[in-house]
């Protein structure tokens, strides 16, 4: 069931990579920031939970725009090592900021979904997990429609295809970059709210971002369906692996399993299941 959330977060990474060619290692920090902002609105200020979620999403969009404008736009045309360092330093910086503002402890949201498990025959399902899965799927579906039917979505897909061509048909590539980051931050905030309500709000949610990078790679960094398939797949694989292998080696596999998979995938199929293979010319 974690797979749905994986897929949703990976969607954010894939979106950014597709249109801006930046691999956003800091995606996990969007989760943390989203979760903490939602927590601040709902528990500290005491707003209605749905209103505070809405405000969180608005804040996330603004944060996404700001990050693109002030950190990545000056780097257009810079070598890839600068971009990689920028994303990972951004990750460290946002983490530092979160620790500075909100501290390093774990908080919990007020429950907005009942905790009682559902029984279907022999299967016992956590109602929370089920709802989270459904929410994640609804958002993924919503984004799919957005890309297919809206003008902005179309512009984004065009930018992803080729920056120069998009520019020449009158799409402002810079605006699209900003919109992409805003959407990715929005997706991150949704994921953050979901995960925060499941596992508690803390800076440790950021580790999910690193795990989800594996998902994005397996699916292919520039493939949206790939992210969804790989997200569900990794969620399942992880549970199977921890269920069957953990007793043999003594536990703790969940933390490292995605990275082992990542390394294997990079060795045998570096561009993922659905990714475009890059052909280089001198």
């Amino acid at each position: 069931m974690n797979g749905g959330v994986y897929a949703l977060i990976a969607l954010g990474i894939v979106l950014i990579y597709k249109s801006t060619r930046v691999l956003n290692i800091a995606q996990g920090q969007f989760l943390v920031v989203g979760a903490w902002i939602a927590f601040t609105f709902s528990s500290k200020i005491g707003l209605n939970i749905w209103l505070s979620f809405f405000l969180t999403l608005v804040a996330a969009i603004i944060i996404g725009f700001l990050i693109e404008r002030f950190t990545f736009r000056p780097l257009i045309g810079q070598p890839i090592s600068a971009l990689i360092t920028m994303t990972i330093v951004l990750m460290a910086g946002i983490e530092g900021l979160v620790l500075w503002i909100w501290g390093g402890w774990v908080e919990t949201f007020p429950d907005f979904i009942p905790r009682e498990p559902i029984r279907m025959g022999n299967i016992v399902l956590s109602q929370q997990l089920l709802w989270m899965f459904i929410i994640a799927m609804v958002f993924i579906g919503g984004f799919a429609l957005f890309f297919k039917y809206t003008r902005t979505g179309l512009a984004m897909r065009a930018t992803a295809e080729d920056h120069q061509v998009a520019q020449s048909v009158g799409i402002s590539v810079k605006t699209v970059f900003g919109q992409t980051w805003a959407i990715a931050a929005l997706i991150g905030a949704i994921g953050g709210i979901i995960l925060g309500s499941l596992y508690g709000v803390s800076y440790q949610l950021g580790e999910w971002g690193l795990k989800v990078l594996t998902v994005a790679i397996i699916g292919g960094l520039d493939s949206i369906p790939g992210a969804i398939v790989a997200g569900l797949m990794l969620g399942l694989l992880e549970k199977v692996a921890t269920g069957y292998v953990d007793p043999i080696i003594g536990g703790g596999l969940e933390a490292v399993f995605p990275f082992v998979i990542l390394l294997i995938v990079l060795m045998i199929k570096p561009y993922g299941l659905f990714g475009l293979k890059e052909i280089e010319r001198i």
Binding site: Y17, L23, I25, T71, P74, L75, Q78, I80, S81, A82, I84, T85, M86, I88, V89, L90, M91, A92, G93, I94, E95, G96, L97, V98, L99, W100, I101, G103, G104, L210, L213, I217, L221, I249, G250, G252, A255, V256, F259, V260, L262, L263, L266, M267, P270, E280, R281, I282
Partner: protein, 350 residues
């Protein structure tokens, strides 16, 4: 390279020499002497020595990373873990087998280098972001292994017997300072010369365009793995020194955040400058130490200091690196070069 006026390359030896003028020799020898008498100054406390030891160890690592990232263009975000390999090698060899430190230190470099080659192997197939991810994976996998395999000490880590020369044990900050400084000088010399050699030029060719480099007859297989070996060798040496300095090796001493800072130090100092690696390390770690030192005393200002200063120092360091990447992408070492050349040409602008 620009030379002071009147310095002429009239022989090959002169052309290849690092130190060219008599004044440079004076400065160089003066600097080395200064380093060695440094602990004798009255203001140098044990605390300051500890900070400097930490910084110089990081500097050795960053010198290696500079070869790997600045020259060969292979991004590695797992240097902290490779340092851990070196540290564990020294600690395990010393603790379990009683191997003397002067043998286990090169062994630390070698083992880290070999592990680095294993995790650098994806660089043969992928590059850029994909490679960065492979090295992040290395970071997590290596630390997970040392934490969960009992032969490596598990959660509690491994105690490290202090190094000894004859009957003299190197276990104080002061004796460690001399050990680290000597190794650091050797490693700096090695790094500078690797960068100027055939290997270094091959690395630069690979960085600029690896396909073109291969067409020119540079074996990508050999040189990419060699770059990883060298970069991780330096990390292993740094790890070995760290093991001796800290006395007890544990997996929590090598978090991902350190690996991130090492990369950032390269960006601040300037990619592809040996001097840049040194400046970047001292600047960033200096900032961190200052925040750690003065952070608690700032706690009366609301929002700053207090318990949040760890987060604040992390944020501040990231901010510095971000500003450098945006406004000075070639780093401080480049700025220094500009300063030097304009100083030499002083009355005339070019």
């Amino acid at each position: 390279m620009q030379l002071p006026s009147g310095t002429i390359n009239d022989s090959y030896e002169k052309d290849m020499a690092i130190i060219r003028t008599r004044w440079q020799w004076v400065m160089f020898i003066g600097f080395v002497v200064l380093i060695f008498v440094f602990p004798a100054f009255p203001f140098v406390s044990n605390y300051l020595l500890r900070i400097i030891n930490n910084i110089v160890i990081a500097m050795i690592l960053v010198l290696g990373l500079n070869i790997l990232m600045g020259y060969a263009g292979q991004v590695s975000l797992g240097q902290g873990a490779f340092m851990a390999v070196g540290a564990y090698t020294v600690a395990l060899l010393g603790h379990k087998l009683g191997v003397p430190f002067w043998l286990s230190l090169p062994a630390a470099g070698l083992s880290a280098g070999i592990v680095g080659v294993i995790f650098g192997a994806p660089s043969l197939r992928v590059k850029g972001v994909y490679l960065a991810l492979a090295t992040i994976a290395a970071q997590f996998i290596i630390l997970w292994i040392v934490r969960h395999v009992h032969a490596f000490g598990g959660v509690s880590g491994v105690p490290n017997p202090p190094a000894a020369i004859g009957t003299f044990t190197i276990n104080s900050q002061l004796s460690n300072y001399y050990l680290i400084i000597v190794v650091a000088i050797i490693m700096t010399f090695a790094a500078k010369n690797i960068a100027r050699s055939k290997i270094g030029r091959a690395f630069v060719a690979i960085r600029d365009n690896d396909l073109a480099a291969e067409v020119m007859g540079i074996s990508l297989f050999r040189y990419k793995l060699l770059a990883f070996f060298i970069g991780c060798f330096f990390a292993g040496i740094a790890g070995g020194l760290w093991a001796n300095l800290i006395g007890h090796v544990q997996d929590e001493q090598f978090p991902l955040i350190n690996s991130i800072w090492y990369t950032g130090m390269i960006m601040v100092g300037g990619q592809g400058y040996t001097l840049g690696a040194i400046i970047g390390t001292f600047l960033l770690l200096g900032v961190q130490e200052i925040v750690v030192l003065y952070g608690p005393s700032l706690s009366h200002i609301p929002g700053v200091g207090g318990s949040g200063y760890a987060g604040f120092s992390q944020f501040l360091m990231a901010l510095i690196i971000v500003l450098f990447i945006i406004f000075e992408p070639r780093g401080l070492a480049h700025r220094w070069q500009i300063f030097k050349s304009s100083y030499r040409l002083h009355p005339f602008s070019y």
